[in-house]
């Protein structure tokens, strides 16, 4: 009500001036849109990297996760005593608990020359009769792993694996070298590459110990705990923690906490945040420079009018409001097309690269805030010239 009054009670000079010089308005809008696009892509890619690192977490069929206290993330989880898992099973509210064995292993992948090339895969060992993964495709193929020396192969492994894949789909069982032994690929599934490893191989626990001679059943990497219906994960996790008492070799986290824990590690330990924050700042600078250029030119063109208005009794503040109004208009006018193009590019990235990139409300609000800040900053810089308009000059 009061805001409507304010708007109606003054002439929207900033708007009128912008509309009057359409070319200028178009350039400024395009500049803001470009900056907004740049920022959306930077933040989107950054989040995509964090998300791709926890894609495997989201695949796991567990409400609560046990890992070593020294654990970094899923790819380097360390080990903890299997007896913790047995302790957890006894806690009220726990439906079942099973061990997962994880280790990175070199394998020989196909290459241009027929000799092959070494690369690192993440090998996950699991009891074939335990539903460790949510994906029904994986669950259906786990029984195949009962035969030792077999593995499920990750279609999304980085690199060109089309011949491998086609062979498996034809029902053949291609073989390659894994950790100095021969592994037979009996099926494909989809998890995706993350940092550190190029892809994932799922094997049975028996196969795991054959390929990883230094690993023993009593030292699993990740404990998957499911809670009974009508129990909440956080409460049960606290109960398990209480059961462990003074044993501090194992962390108990809900799946959400584990995901945040892994992302947080990545945020702190990698240069990703820095690189993309830098990109975002560059985007802001581009926006500020373009908008400042346009607003300054507009102020310069209207100095005589501003001086006249001052002579008529307008205060400095009222005229600074004109520039501020213009910067707000430009931030909104540029944000909308910038957002639309970004949504389009996100869709392209999703379908062409099959990477998990999505718009979030938080990011939308954040980038809109940045766009307004950007334009307000340019406005504040351009305003300095308004003060120079001298009412005594108009005669």
């Amino acid at each position: 009500m009061q805001i409507r009054d304010l708007v109606r009670r003054r002439t929207p000079l900033g708007w009128k001036q912008l509309v009057h010089s359409k070319g200028r308005m178009a350039i400024a809008t395009a500049g803001v849109a470009f900056a907004v696009l740049l920022i959306f892509m930077q933040l989107g890619f950054m989040n995509m990297l964090f998300e791709s690192a926890v894609m495997i977490h989201r695949q796991l069929n567990a409400d609560i996760v046990l890992v070593s206290s020294t654990s970094r993330d899923f790819a380097s989880p360390g080990t903890f005593p299997r007896s913790r898992l047995l302790q957890a099973v006894g806690v009220p509210g726990v439906a079942d608990a099973e061990a997962l064995y994880v280790t990175p292993r070199d394998w020989i992948k196909q290459s241009e020359t027929n000799r092959g090339e070494r690369a690192q895969m993440l090998m996950i060992g699991v009891r074939p009769d335990f539903a460790a993964f949510r994906d029904p495709e994986i669950a259906a193929q786990l029984p195949l792993l009962v035969e030792t020396g077999t593995a499920l192969f990750d279609r999304k492994t980085r690199g060109n694996f089309i011949p491998f894949r086609q062979a498996i789909e034809r029902g053949e069982r291609p073989q390659t070298e894994l950790g100095g032994r021969t592994v037979t690929l009996v099926g494909t599934m989809q998890i995706g590459s993350s940092f550190g490893s190029e892809g994932v191989l799922i094997v049975s626990d028996q196969t795991f110990f054959e390929f990883a001679l230094n690993r023993v059943p009593s030292a699993p990497s990740v404990g998957l705990v499911n809670v009974a219906p009508d129990h909440d994960a956080a409460g049960v996790a606290a109960a398990i923690r209480a059961r462990f008492g003074t044993y501090d070799d194992t962390m108990v986290m809900t799946m959400e906490d584990f995901i945040e824990h892994s992302k947080g590690r990545m945020r702190r330990d990698s240069a990703i945040s820095f690189v993309f924050t830098f990109g975002t700042i560059i985007g802001m600078i581009v926006g500020v420079v373009i908008v400042l250029e346009i607003l300054s030119a507009d102020v310069h063109d209207h100095l005589a009018e501003y001086a006249t208005f001052k002579a008529m009794g307008f205060s400095n503040r009222a005229l600074l409001g004109v520039v501020f109004e213009q910067s707000l208009i430009l931030s909104v006018a540029g944000f909308v097309p910038g957002l639309l193009v970004s949504l389009g590019l996100y869709a392209v990235v999703r379908s062409a690269l099959t990477m998990p990139i999505a718009m979030t409300v938080e990011r939308l609000v954040l980038v809109f805030g940045l766009a307004v800040t950007m334009c307000a900053l340019s406005g504040a810089l351009a305003m300095r010239r308004v003060r120079k308009a001298d009412p005594a000059d108009v005669f």
């Binding site: 009018e305 006249t308 205060s315 108009v394």
Partner: protein, 233 residues
């Protein structure tokens, strides 16, 4: 309006130069006074001091009982709102229509746009004979029409004092004559005081009093032709 012992200097140090010398002048309410004199004698300087566009350096300027010597920015702005300015160039805003330009005269009062701003602006445009041109931009108006819009803008808030600096300089003979006649008629009807600088001999008939300046001093004052004739010429 009252000036007493008003002096003014431009520049600083070596180049400091006095342009007004201890001026005394009283203009009673409702009088129409024309100020004449050779170029550079200080006419515009007087207008800017009276209007509160420049700070008073020495002497005193009182407008409607308000002292401008030593006034702060807020007092100067308050004074500007009491004055209607008409410039040599029309100084209209090119992104605004005639009505919106006139309306700025109301908005300049610092209380936003009054609810009846558009009606008042249109009435004022009708007074200056531009009722049919309210929605036109300046590039669609002739020189005389633009100057009449500028007059409407200066008068719309009904300021007690009109300050005009050679408003006819850019106009042809007949248009200049009409514009000043209009200005005088409206000012008279509303009891406004007018201080107008002019070089234009053809409009002197409209003054109550004519002041001659030379080198920063008022050297002669004589009654204008209009002083004798109380009604519109």
């Amino acid at each position: 309006m009252e000036l007493s012992r008003l002096s003014h200097w431009y520049g600083a140090g070596e180049t400091r130069r006095q342009v007004l010398f201890e001026l005394d002048l009283v203009i009673p309410r409702g009088e129409v006074v024309f100020l004449m004199g050779p170029s550079g004698c200080g006419k515009t300087t007087i207008l800017t001091l009276v209007g509160g566009l420049r700070s008073v350096q020495q002497g005193s300027v009182r407008v409607a009982g308000r002292e401008l010597a030593g006034a702060n920015e807020a007092r100067l702005i308050a004074n500007r709102r009491q004055c209607g300015f008409i410039f040599q160039a029309h100084n209209l805003h090119r992104s605004l229509t005639a009505r919106e330009n006139v309306r700025m005269g109301l908005e300049a009062q610092g209380r936003g746009l009054p609810p009846d701003a558009d009606e008042r602006s249109e009435r004022m445009l009708a007074v200056v004979g531009l009722a049919d041109h309210a929605n036109k931009f300046q590039h669609q108006l002739s020189g005389g029409q633009r100057q009449r819009v500028a007059i409407a803008r200066a008068l719309v808030a009904e300021p007690p004092l009109i300050l005009a600096d050679e408003p006819t300089a850019a106009l042809d003979r007949q248009t200049g004559h009409d514009v000043v006649a209009l200005l005088r008629r409206v000012a008279r009807e509303r009891g406004m005081t007018v201080l107008m600088v002019t070089h234009d001999n053809r409009v002197l008939d409209f003054a109550d009093r004519l002041l001659e300046m030379e080198d920063g001093r008022i050297v002669a004052a004589r009654p204008g032709a209009a002083a004798a004739a109380p009604v519109n010429p």
